[in-house]
């Protein structure tokens, strides 16, 4: 199977501050994301993984380097082009409460995502689609449509965010710690929903996480970041069973598993 590159990241660097306060958050990072692929970017706090995600979402300009979507450089996207990009690339974040405007109902949040569309569907069509995507995430339109975010639990809010993703049908979803605020027994249903995006829409997904176990569970490939640099990338199995870079080796050693002794 010949895989097509969806997003091409080359020599990405991001610097915050200047002179004495200069911090290089991301250093010369390059990687590709193929169509219909799930990858994880794994790193500890301060490794630059979220900064990388924000640049991929076109929410932050790189200091150097380029990002191309299907061969087109995104740095000069304005107006309509930028909207088109967000139609193709969408994000979902750790704290689903922070992603909501607290004065908007669920219905309004979902309605607003149609603003990314070139052709506006009719009111009936919008209604029908919203009902359908809420059904995908196991929520009932009548129960949640008129609710405000503070009336929902964390898991419910995250599912609304996923419903929004199903509405937009992006080619690439960037999920930044999407389950780290969710209880373990609810996590599986959120993960299942996210992974179904690949089956249903043939999308690609990038998980940004510090949780190596989660990364291994969901991904085809894993990228390891440390101090702003990409230190290793490879298939999930290779990274976990045969890590090469000293940092990756240490990281894997430091994560407790169930069946191996944790060298304390």
């Amino acid at each position: 199977m010949d895989k097509k590159i969806l997003l091409k990241v080359r020599n990405l660097t991001r610097v915050f501050g200047s002179k004495k306060k200069r911090v290089v958050a991301v250093k010369n990072v390059s990687f590709d994301i193929y169509e219909n692929e799930i990858i994880s970017i794994v790193g500890e706090s301060g490794s630059g993984k979220t900064t990388t995600a924000r640049m991929m979402l076109n929410l932050l300009k790189p200091t150097e380097g380029t990002i191309e979507i299907e061969g087109e450089d995104i740095s000069n996207f304005r107006g309509k082009k930028k909207r088109e990009y967000w139609r193709k690339v969408q994000g979902i974040f750790q704290d689903p409460f922070a992603s909501f405007n607290q004065f908007f109902t669920v219905r309004k949040v979902l309605d607003d995502s149609f603003k990314l569309f070139d052709v506006q569907p009719s009111k009936e069509e919008k209604d029908k689609r919203i009902r359908k995507v809420l059904e995908y995430v196991n929520m009932r339109y009548e129960e949640v449509a008129e609710k405000y975010p503070f009336e929902l639990s964390g898991g419910q809010r995250q599912r609304i965010m996923i419903a929004r993703i199903f509405l937009i049908e992006p080619k690439l979803l960037i999920a930044d710690e999407p389950t780290s605020m969710i209880d373990a027994v609810l996590r599986s249903s959120i993960l299942e929903l996210l992974l179904s995006l690949r089956e249903r829409e043939k999308s690609s997904i990038v998980f940004i996480t510090h949780d190596l176990g989660l990364a291994y569970y969901v991904s085809d490939r894993i990228l390891i970041m440390h101090n702003g640099e990409l230190v290793e990338q490879g298939s999930a199995d290779d990274i976990i069973t045969n890590p090469q870079h000293p940092y990756t080796k240490k990281l894997i050693q430091d994560v407790p598993t169930l069946h191996q002794e944790w060298a304390l």
């Binding site: 500890e44 373990a184 990364a215 291994y216 199995d237 994560v255 169930l258 944790w262």
Partner: protein, 324 residues
């Protein structure tokens, strides 16, 4: 290994009193014993009452937390009705050390680390001079292979992992019998988590502390530090057994789902079907007739909803379920 009984909690009930006059029941009839040499892990998800249990055991009932009924006995001393100044002078920090969640962010930024230690030790041993206390602290730091310079640092100069280790050392200065640690590793990177766990293990092996209650939602960590594990759901213990029993062979349907949802980077995890439990835990304001997990349980029937479910023995451990 069966050491001396240090702590006994019997049928403990505590709740939060709201201004609207409602009672939020947080701990509902918890009983257990803690012996010398034991590290008891208390596992559960957000809102199950595990942190409230930790505070309640320490005997402090900061409002709006209120004592309902039951007892907490440290040796012969009953902690639920003890005079607060006596509790602070003779028990807390000396016999029981309670390390609340994110204690490491509560260190006063204008004081050096050694100040906290002097304050603590002076409270319990007023005759010791400051120099002596600092000398003792330096020895303690050295024996645990932590740098002595930390004593002269301000909290904000320390990394997260170092801050948490400092908290652990400060709170064990008086060699307490029981250490209650609430999520001591949760805000840390994996490498720092490991270092903190190592330190707790070391304190334990060097007999500086005699027992630990380790409250966390992180099951893989309990796998490597706990000797016993109690799984908590909606204010109750639903399963209490040895680490091996609870992690590798859970019996209660809830602990079973919890253990099955563990994802760690090891072979066999990829492609594993994760359990998914519908619904949410019950409203803590409500009085519940039967099993608190019944509405989400695959095994539940009418029998489960009739009367309160008692702990009973099954497969060598305690379980609160009539279906297994």
């Amino acid at each position: 290994m069966s050491g001396k009984k240090l702590l006994e909690v019997k049928d403990l009930y505590t709740y939060y009193q709201t201004r609207l006059g409602e009672k939020i029941k947080a701990v509902n009839g918890v009983s257990f014993e803690l012996k010398e040499g034991e590290i008891l892990g208390i596992a559960g998800e957000s809102g199950c009452g595990k942190s409230t249990l930790g505070i309640s055991i320490s005997g402090l009932f900061p409002p709006p937390l209120k004592y309902g009924k039951g007892s907490v006995k440290l040796g012969d001393v009953e902690l639920t009705n003890i005079n607060h100044s006596k509790l602070r002078k003779e028990i807390l920090g000396k016999k029981i050390s309670f390390i609340p969640q994110s204690a490491m962010n509560a260190l006063n930024p204008t004081l050096k680390v050694k100040r906290f230690i002097v304050d603590l030790v002076k409270e319990h041993e007023p005759n010791l001079s400051e120099d002596e206390i600092i000398k003792r602290a330096a020895e303690r730091f050295e024996s645990l292979s932590l740098p002595k310079r930390v004593l002269d640092a301000y909290a904000l100069e320390l990394s997260g992992g170092m801050k948490q280790r400092t908290i652990v050392v400060i709170s064990t200065m008086m060699n307490p019998e029981v250490v209650i640690a609430d999520e001591p590793t949760s805000a840390l990177d994996v490498s720092s988590q490991k270092i903190v766990i190592k330190l707790i293990r070391q304190l334990f092996e060097e007999k500086i502390i005699k027992s630990v209650i380790f409250i966390t939602h992180d099951l893989p960590i309990l796998r490597h530090i706990a000797t016993k594990i109690a799984v908590m759901y909606a204010g109750e213990f639903v399963e209490v057994g040895t680490m091996e029993q609870v992690i590798f062979d859970p019996v209660h349907p809830y602990s079973n789902a919890l253990m099955n949802s563990i994802i760690v980077p090891e072979k066999g995890i990829k492609g594993k079907k994760l359990p998914s439990i519908p619904g949410a835990p019950p409203d803590p304001r409500l009085e519940i007739q039967g099993c608190r997990f019944a509405d989400r349980c695959p095994l539940a029937d009418d029998e489960c909803r009739k009367a309160p479910i008692e702990m009973r023995e099954a497969k060598g451990r305690l379980v609160r379920c009539i279906k297994v």
